[in-house]
């Protein structure tokens, strides 16, 4: 069945350094990929989603590129900010059924 893998449970880095959170997936179909961000005690919010025309989505300085050849949708940002500290989920939606399949999530801790 479909699955999403996020290999890092916790990423800690210093403010100003680049961010890369890994996401790979398995799917029989060509799914849509999403990144959700969840700050402490808040609801998960959509950060990015993949486009059908392979444009690179960007939001709040974050971007991600869907690579079908490697089944990846890594999240990147050139310079981390303290406010980026949160839990990040990668998810996929296949077959237009609407249901999202989530990875375990990666906690990003940005230190001064």
């Amino acid at each position: 069945g479909d699955s999403v893998t996020q290999t890092e449970g916790l990423v800690t880095l210093t403010e100003g350094l680049p961010v890369m959170l890994n996401c790979t997936y398995q799917s029989t179909y060509s799914p849509f990929l999403f990144w959700y961000v969840q700050h402490l005690n808040e609801a998960p919010k959509l950060l990015l989603k993949s486009f059908t025309d392979n444009k690179r989505p960007e939001h709040q300085g974050f971007h991600a590129t869907l690579h079908k050849s490697s089944s990846s949708f890594h999240l990147q940002k050139s310079s981390a900010q303290l406010s980026d500290s949160a839990l990040y989920y990668c998810a996929l939606s296949a077959l237009n059924t609407g249901k999202l399949i989530f990875g375990l999530g990666t906690t990003l801790q940005v230190q001064p």
Partner: protein, 111 residues
Amino acid sequence: GPKVLQIPSHQIIDMGQMVTLNCDPVSNHLYFYWYKQILGQQMEFLVNFYNGKVMEKSKLFKDQFSVERPDGSYFTLKIQPTALEDSAVYFCASSRTDEQYFGPGTRLTVL
């Protein structure tokens, strides 16, 4: 942006009791979802609902679970009777298209 509300934020009940979790979705959304997240594990899809009907449910959606949206108001998840393994955070989501908006979750503890 659009907000999904969930009531209550926490619920503690004894095993075997009934519980109803309430979700107030975004007003013009048509698709509704419940997800379950056990501590330390990933969020897992339970069920989705459209036009008054369940569209798809996962194997986690046991016979003791039911969903409804009476009178177009709250979207509810009812568990009757509850079991210890139902302890988790339950997230509601709603959408018009493929962008799902999530609520903050209800933490359910079954004793």
